[in-house]
């Protein structure tokens, strides 16, 4: 069950080829945000180097969001184009689920954080005691202050003493998180702080095994936030 995984939800562009047993190839690029230029050549390279082609795939996995609006659309438009042309199924996976895969086998509450700009973060809380992370909250966009409050509540409700924060949303508020969370904050090594397409591929394999395919015509990104214009319309400013 071969899965091609495509992730451009954050400044990281990731492409991987994964099956039930192994990661066959993974490309990770966190250098400038030029997904529109790099993504298709990377996909082509990954398939070629593995002497594979779209026809051999079981499905194409794509990170659905939240994340950079444009980044999400580049990844999803690419996945849709490949899927429609090849007839291969799509499996959409929330991008925070992917990042949560970087930590495992701990009873700490895992909190992936993406920088959402406008002084906000995209986040959700995960239980990672099993083989794959289990989301225990909604996907949300909130301020760092609200995040700390929600995270502490979630930890208390589920009886966790430690919290693991990861993702590019961590660094801008590192000092604040240290102050606010003190001893309960656990830090992980830098190389685990970013989403990996291999993890997306693994989640994709699981979803494909369950035959939970997404429809190429109806799948859309999970933005979590409205567009600025829609907010203004809602507030009666337009």
């Amino acid at each position: 069950m071969l899965i091609l995984a495509i992730d451009t939800a954050t400044p990281v562009a990731g492409v991987a080829l994964v099956d039930e047993e192994k990661v066959i190839k993974e490309e990770f690029l966190n250098y400038k945000k030029k997904h529109s230029e790099t993504l298709m050549p990377t996909i082509d390279r990954v398939l070629r180097e593995c002497e594979s082609s779209l026809t051999e795939l079981e499905a194409i996995a794509v990170s659905t969001g939240p994340g950079s609006f444009t980044g999400l659309r580049i990844g999803m438009a690419t996945a849709k184009g490949l899927s429609l042309a090849s007839g291969k199924s799509l499996v959409g996976i929330p991008s925070l689920d992917v990042l949560a895969c970087n930590v495992g086998c701990t009873d700490a509450l895992v909190c992936p954080l993406f920088n959402a700009r406008k002084q906000e973060l995209y986040t959700a809380f995960y239980d990672v005691t099993g083989e794959f992370p289990r989301r225990v909250s909604e996907l949300m966009a909130c301020s760092p202050q609200d995040f700390v409050e929600y995270a502490l509540n979630a930890a208390e409700e589920t009886g966790r003493k430690r919290l693991i924060l990861l993702g590019d949303g961590y660094y801008p508020y590192e000092d604040y998180f240290r102050d606010a969370l003190g001893e309960s904050l656990l830090k992980i090594p830098r190389h685990l702080m970013f989403p990996r397409a291999s993890a997306l591929g693994s989640l994709g394999v699981e979803k494909a095994k369950r035959k939970e395919f997404d429809n190429v015509f109806t799948i859309r990104p999970l933005y979590v936030r409205l567009s600025e214009a829609e907010y203004r319309l809602q507030r009666g400013e337009i």
């Binding site: 429609l84 567009s227 829609e230």
Partner: protein, 351 residues
Amino acid sequence: MLFLDVQIQKGWCRNMNPLLILGIETSCDETAAAIVANGRDILSNVINSQINIHQRFGGVVPEVASRKHIENIALVVDMAFEEARLSYQEIDAVAVTNTPGLIGTLLVGLSFAKAFAYGLGRPLIAVNHLHGHIYANFLEHDNIELPAVCLVVSGGHTSILYMKDRKSFEIIGETRDDAAGEAFDKVARFLGLGYPGGPAIEKAAQQGETGKIKLPRVFLDRNDFEFSFSGLKTASVNQWQKIKAKEGYSVHDLAAEFQAALVEVLVEKTMRAVEKFQVKTVLMAGGVAANQVLRDTMRRRAEALGIQLFYPSLKLCTDNAAMIAGNAYYHYMDGNFAPLNVNAYPGLLSL
């Protein structure tokens, strides 16, 4: 004898196997896909307009437009094949607009097109949206003589191009601020006439009188091909605020004068370009080229100068993908294909 054989074979191939190009267009607020045979015959032309969505905001919101594009793109492309009664594998190339336009919306079409072309093993062709607009004329008219001066005028652009031959275009002038269609939208919105502003003002102007209210012909005194419509918009707003309380003026008079001022500048600058480049042909394109007053005024001036004027039918004036596939045919013939790392670019000269 051999020569003849080749000719026959070519003719036979052309008849039996027309060159089929899928065009994809997402540079603004229309998600569009079309299939055109031999750069000429439109087999399908699907346009998903977001006009009622953007109506609420009084103009196109790039993020909202991008969200609609990613939702609709696969279905719109599939419909283009269904309408043409073709399978995906039957097309020879995929063409897509990659400039100019809204960067976020362009990227949806471009990313999809790259992947779709790659998935089918077909070449990708990147098309300039302005060239596409101009090529809409070649989908409908046979007897276009080049070189030509082209006026591309819509909600997104106001440009004059010098088209030397089928392949070479030079932008000789553009708007410095708002596009003409944008000015129509903004003034219509201010006057409470509705969205889109072009048809709304055109309709209101029919009941009004030009010259009762005086608006400037911006940049007409300048000896170049540049436009500025933001100033005309501001002047319209200021004038209306001054006189709206007075007797004898109606919103229709302002609409008429605004339209006349805008059309006069477009026509005059185009005709100056005709003179400078000594061409016998004018091509108009873009949504504003559907404006009847612009068409009539341009027609009168063209006839007086003894030059040919062409514009596409209404359906091909506004953004569509048939014009993209039409232009792409010439790229295909030249072997001008885009690499997988081709990017999208929002603007050309100004902005």
